[in-house]
Amino acid sequence: MKLFKWIYGIALVLLIAFPFYWVAISSFKLPDQILQADFWPKEWTLQHYNELINATPYLTNLRNSLFVSFGTMIITTALVVPASYAIYRMEFKGRKFFYYLILATFIFPTMLLLVPVYNLMSGVNLIDNLWSLIIINVTFAAPFATWLMSGFFKSIPPSLDESAAVDGAGQLRILFQIILPLIAPGLATIAVYSFVVSWTEFAFASVLISSEANQVLTVGMNQIMGQYTVRWGWTTAGGMLTVIPVLIFFGIVGKYFVRGLTEGSIK
């Protein structure tokens, strides 16, 4: 049984890690060797990375992606925490209705909203503006984030806000001074969640942004892939360059994200 567990574990590690390994290793191979399936490059080269960073607006794309992702993260957190506090810890008319309304966002295929959202953004003059991406990413991150918060709120005994209420603390003060510190892991979780949603979004980023100066990474990546030529050197290097920032980010906050998820979520 124990042996089986180890074998299975190793197989899973391979399953998860091999694609990363293979793409990474390929991106360091010389152009004439990249099509050969060597598990270790005969010769290492940074050629693809050099060319990519010089010939494509990678750094601009990266900056834009970071801006959109952090923006989405802050706004999502700021909107979701009060809303979920109301939904999970307050009694009021229409509570269920609002809850389902927020969750209903799951139901609609996002790509069918492309054109109407485009028209909407253009109505408020936000086309080719990174804020349009933040706005729409918040929309898609918020429902699941709200839902994630349920476990965190439920794990706080109701007596806590009751006793605070007796003390005469205002509702907002209860939220900020007593509840918020208790749900800090939840905050971290939804913050990272919304960051990831935003970081990986592609369809709206390609539609709402028209100039190179405002392009984000996923769209830049799509252009590298190109339709007329297949350059696996660039494609794999580009893939790595898109993955690395998020790996670093995750290296720093991943622990809190996963711990938050496992401590708080749906029980």
């Binding site: 899973l12 909107l79 990986t200 990474l217």
Partner: protein, 300 residues
């Protein structure tokens, strides 16, 4: 004096009453503006003969809906969508459950693995597509190379372009992308199960297998219910991975409903029909959600 106090109390009371709405309001308004407002324009378009995006069609009543209900392509896409959803749920459930059970302990390595295994989920779909296209490539993919050199196959496999296998291959790829996230959520559920339950059953002499069915699964019912609902909707609506890996091909074998809607709107230039398809699809999904909540919701 007394009157003033009551007024203050009344005012306080009003704020107290309004508070939940003030808290939930911003998010609700946000979502109404960015989802339900655009959605209303989709519903409107579904009654017009609009062709190319941007042009103005004529009002045609329910004609688009008749087209949709009579369309073999639409129902064919539903068949693929069902297969897609079921396939994803099965593969991901198996992978996620086994991983979660494997890592549900306090060993250091498990703690670390919990964090890093989620990496496939944090990379953009388009990069996932590149990863696997590169590995599975029918001419110089490493998988073919390994299989050929081990003499397991005699001819390179064209997995993504095979009309029998491509759907299963993209189900696998999508599962690779998503299962880590599900696994973490399941882990959350597992860590919430009181240890005493297991101790008690161990005293009764239950083996691991019985333990799983008698304790683990029932204790996870809230988690599995939520994942069943949200996961199904998520998987159903996945579009970009399929679009970038196969574009619905070969010969339509991976054309799920969202892919078909996209093609109808942006490749066949039939926005009216595409909108009607979207509305019908959304209605089916709502029906599913309602039924699922009614019949599968945990009883307590």
């Amino acid at each position: 004096m007394v009157a003033k106090q009551t007024r203050v109390r009344k005012k306080k009371n009003r704020i107290r009453k309004a508070m939940p709405y003030l808290l939930v309001g911003p998010l609700v308004i946000w979502i109404l503006l960015t989802v339900f407002l655009p959605l209303s324009s989709v519903i409107r378009e579904s009654f017009y003969s609009t062709g190319f995006v941007g042009t103005q069609g004529d009002f045609v009543g329910f004609e688009n809906y008749m087209n949709v209900f009579g369309s073999a392509a639409y129902w064919g896409a539903w068949q693929k969508s069902l297969l897609w959803v079921v396939g994803n749920m099965v593969v991901q459930t198996i992978l996620a459950f086994s991983v979660a059970l494997l890592l549900n302990n306090n060993r250091k390595i498990s703690q670390m693995a919990r964090t890093w295994m989620i990496i496939p989920w944090v990379i953009p779909t388009i990069v996932v597509a590149i990863f696997w296209q590169w590995i599975l490539n029918g001419s110089y993919g490493v998988l073919n190379d390994v299989l050929l050199s081990l003499n397991i196959i005699g001819e390179p496999l064209n997995l993504l372009g095979d009309s029998t296998w491509s759907l299963f291959v993209i189900i696998f790829i999508n599962s690779w992308h998503w299962f880590p996230f599900l696994a973490v959520i399941l882990l959350a559920g597992l860590s919430g199960i009181p240890k005493e339950l297991y101790e008690a059953s161990a005293m009764d002499g239950a083996n691991k297998w019985q333990e799983f069915w008698k304790i683990t699964l029932p204790s996870l019912q809230h988690t599995t219910f939520a994942l069943g609902l949200v996961g199904t909707l998520w998987m159903f609506n996945i579009f970009d991975l399929i679009h970038s890996l196969t574009e619905g091909g070969p010969a339509g074998t991976t054309t799920t409903v969202p892919v078909l809607i996209y093609q109808e709107a942006f490749e066949s230039y039939n926005l009216g029909n595409a909108s009607a398809m979207s509305v019908v699809t959304a209605l089916f999904l709502i029906m599913f959600a309602v039924l699922f909540v009614r019949f599968a919701a945990p009883k307590d």
